[in-house]
Amino acid sequence: MPYKIDPAVDRQYIEEMRRNPIGAHSPGLQRVLNTLRTDKSGRQVILVVLKPFEKWVLGEMPPDRRDPITIEDGPVFTSREEAEWEIFRRRWFQHTGENINLPFRD
């Protein structure tokens, strides 16, 4: 049975993710991320580049390539790290039912 996120145990990694969404992670955070990024439905969250190095939005690739990609109108991100934090928050809620009410930067 693959690892299942336990918010009581894994909550400690939230701040590490917020500080450094892209980079070398602790084993605990890496396990959380590997779990959050596994989606058996075949859907794939993507980062749509509106303007290289300036503007991004999230999108979703469907399981079947014959179906269209959906692209969100917003939020619009000004860094890749900001987008990583947003998708982390969304997936955390999906897995735990808990909201992370923290902005990317204070």
């Binding site: 892209i22 980079g23 989606d39 969250v45 980062l47 509106l50 999108g59």
Partner: protein, 754 residues
């Protein structure tokens, strides 16, 4: 999305020759075109910025626009087939369907789509053997009751009898399974007489209105045959015996033996009428057939076991577009990296309306060669073609976890998603799940262009392959180095003679794929005194083959080992283009270490790290490399992942062929857990694969002297060139690279051990 795309007819062109560009424009009546020099294709604001200076030529101007299409999907055409439906006939084949849920798939047709006339023998309704007849006013389809399973062999027989107005369909699985009923037999009256058309017979596709080919069949076809009259499968048995002269069979119309002329695009009818066929868009050959036993894996030794061809709806060899711009180079045109900059309007957040169609200008050929610089850059065009339209971020799930970050989709990636007819790279799988083993450059290649930022290029600039190599172009320009550009294809064609006079050859960041002829030529050059600067990682890894007759296409078999996004089927490790055993160079005793002193050991695509100086850096033999570089830490900065050691790493391994005199100048450390040991490095899976725990995971910067006064300098990392540019190319990575290049340009021989 992209509003303008295109491709050149060649990646390498010599002065005095003509290169043509085929362009499709989706918006507007005209487009502008001009030649630019490619010095830096990286948009990253943390770097020096795009550098694509205009090179005025006579082709600068505005051109009429047109939209061009790709008609992908492989098939066989028999140009001279008489009208089969004039009399009774039976079609036989042994087939292995692979994708039965994508609509009707044609096995054989003599069909006119506009008139709805003729016949098609197909898989219909999810894999049932069917016969479609049209008389010009209406059509009728008859089929067996049960669909065939995918990836199972079947004998099929379809007999048409115009006198009785009947069709008899038989599908017979070669292997039976309890509770599975996938056999079928159906006799049916058609109620109409299909038009007898003396038009080319197609196999694995049928004509559509407008001249395209559709209803492609996905899967293998082995030993197809046509016989006059209504016959059953017993009659087929005799036809399956190889090496039988069928001329004595008075009813034989054709019997194609796909085991003959495997290296070509021709198919041979062994019957007396010689209804030979031609293959379009390169379906896979040297595929094991229904009778493969495993006793022989080399198709050249037992071709009768390789009588299958695997067709795919998304095979593509040549897009075949009309030429939009042709450029005849002046005789004195300087060697280097260039592009045709095409533009059909202003780009915005929704669409990109310009492109840079890349190409290289090689030195003049033969007697016109003239005085050449001491230095050459070997453009890894085999690797560019191998990665052409690399779409694993689209076709494979799990790429985000592997990258350890979200997958970026720029306009090119979105366009790629919606245009599978562009065809995949050697990393992708076909729609039916089988691996793409042929890749051509005669089609728009969306990642062979400046400004393309790749989903696997490391955090930061996110460049990979071609665009990553532009970092090196920029650095060479900043340093004022005079150099020629030659390509893998040039080296394959011209051999050692092409490079024998160069004193220094620099590679790209990821020179991974090489043909045998190119490997041999490069090794000879190194052994005869050449000075090799291996500027990347994971080089000389896979063996590829070129086609004897077709231009611009390579073949790869992802055989028995290595990092393989797909794995070749057992028995299909030998290349169809040339009969060579495919796969890793390491598996045939030519590990990368033999060529470059170091070899592939780890990969990870999130962030890069740095090198720490090793004791050999203080060896007097290496003193020139570290002139003015007293630093302990090297390359803790860079545009590719933030460090010089990243993406894919190589290290010294004398067991694999690293020379015993090699110096380990520095090694990388501090890698994340996502930089992981590659699988050919272990037989038993170790508990810790990541660079945070496994000390095998490292890049070794290496140097050694070679026979005949030459030398090798190897960086061991794809990310190295991304660290050349920071601080206006004034940093320790740049300094080390320059120290090496300066010494390598000095003709004074290296003397081992001095």
């Amino acid at each position: 999305m992209l509003k303008i795309v295109g491709y050149p007819d060649r990646y390498s062109v010599a002065p005095g020759e003509t290169i043509s560009f085929q362009i499709s424009v989706e918006e507007g009546e005209t487009f502008d075109a001009r030649i630019v020099r490619v010095l830096n294709g990286d948009c990253n604001p943390d770097g020096p910025g795009l550098s694509l200076p205009h090179v005025p030529t006579h082709i600068d101007g505005t051109y009429p626009a047109r939209k061009q299409h790709i008609d992908a999907g492989s098939f066989m055409r028999v140009p001279t087939m008489p009208a089969l439906a004039e009399g009774a006939f039976t079609f036989f084949a042994t087939i292995w369907p692979t994708l039965t849920d994508r609509g009707d798939q044609t096995l054989v047709a003599q069909w006119d789509e506009t008139k709805q006339a003729g016949f098609r023998i197909e898989l219909v309704d999810g894999g049932k053997l069917g016969f479609v007849a049209g008389d010009g006013s209406r059509t009728v389809t008859v089929a067996t009751a049960r669909p065939m399973l995918v990836r199972q062999w079947y004998r099929v027989a379809v007999a048409y009898d115009p006198a009785a107005g009947k069709v008899t369909l038989t599908q017979e699985p070669l292997r039976r399974y309890p509770t599975i009923d996938d056999a079928g037999h159906q006799e049916a009256e058609l109620g109409l007489t299909p038009s007898a058309l003396a038009v080319p017979m197609l196999m694995a596709g049928s004509p559509e209105a407008g001249g395209t080919i559709g209803r492609h069949y996905d899967g293998k076809i082995d030993s197809p045959a046509l016989v006059r009259g209504v016959q059953d499968l017993h009659r087929y048995g005799a036809l399956l015996r190889s090496n039988v002269p069928f001329v004595s069979d008075p009813d034989l119309i054709a019997r194609w033996d796909f085991a003959k002329e495997i290296r070509t695009t021709r198919t041979v009818d062994v019957g007396p009428s010689r209804h030979d066929g031609e293959l379009v868009h390169l379906p896979s050959r040297a595929m094991k057939g229904w009778n493969w036993t495993g006793e022989q894996h080399d198709w050249t030794r037992k071709p009768e076991h390789y009588g299958a061809i695997h067709f795919h709806r998304d095979d593509i060899y040549d897009a075949g577009w009309e030429t939009s711009v042709a450029f005849t180079l002046p005789d004195d045109f300087k060697s280097g990296g260039y592009a045709l900059h095409v533009r059909c309007g202003e780009s915005d957040e929704q669409a990109t309306r310009e492109d840079y169609l890349a190409f290289f200008v090689r030195p003049p050929r033969g007697a016109n060669r003239g005085e050449r610089p001491k230095v050459a850059f070997l453009a890894p065009t085999c690797s560019y073609i191998a990665y052409a339209n690399h779409g694993e971020h689209i076709t494979a799930r799990g790429a985000e976890a592997l990258m350890n970050r979200l997958l970026p989709f720029g306009h090119s990636d979105l366009y790629m998603y919606y245009h599978p007819e562009l065809g995949g790279s050697l990393y992708d799988s076909h729609a039916d799940g089988s691996g793409v083993c042929y890749s051509s450059r005669l089609r728009p290649v969306l990642n062979f262009t400046s400004r393309y930022h790749s989903w696997l290029g490391g955090h930061g600039s996110a460049l990979y392959q071609y665009n990553a190599d532009t970092h090196l172009f920029y650095w060479l320009d900043q340093k004022g180095v005079e150099y020629d550009v030659i390509t893998d294809e040039d080296l394959h064609q011209d051999g050692y003679e092409l490079i024998k006079d160069y004193q220094v050859i620099l590679t790209g960041t990821h020179p991974e794929y090489h043909s045998t002829r190119a490997w041999d030529a490069m090794k000879a050059w190194v052994d005869r005194g050449g000075r090799l600067m291996y500027m990347g990682g994971n080089g000389w890894y896979w063996r590829v083959g070129f086609h004897d007759e077709l231009d611009g296409v390579i073949e790869l078999r992802r055989a028995e080992d290595g990092i393989r996004p797909w794995i070749a089927e057992p028995g299909e490790y030998f290349q169809s283009f040339n009969g060579e055993y495919g796969g890793l160079w390491r598996r045939i005793g030519r590990a990368p270490n033999v060529m470059a002193g170091i070899g592939f050991v780890a990969q990870g695509f999130d962030i890069s790290s740095y090198y720490r100086r090793a004791p050999d850096a203080d060896n007097p033999r290496a003193s020139f490399i570290f002139k003015d570089v007293p630093d302990e830490i090297i390359g803790d900065f860079g545009l590719i992942g933030g460090g010089a050691a990243g993406i894919e790493l190589d290290c010294i391994n004398t067991d694999l062929g690293s020379p015993p005199n090699v110096l380990r100048l520095a090694s990388s450390e501090g890698h994340s857990s996502m930089m992981q040991l590659v699988n050919e490095e272990f037989g038993v899976v170790p508990p810790a694969l990541g660079g945070d725990q496994n000390d095998q995971v490292r890049a070794d910067m290496a140097f050694c002297e070679t026979p005949s006064g030459g030398a090798i300098f190897a960086t061991g990392s794809i990310a190295w060139c991304g660290s050349l540019l920071p601080n206006n190319c004034d940093n320790n990575v740049s300094r080390i690279t320059w120290n090496v290049l300066e010494r390598f340009m000095d003709p004074k021989p290296f003397v081992p051990g001095s």
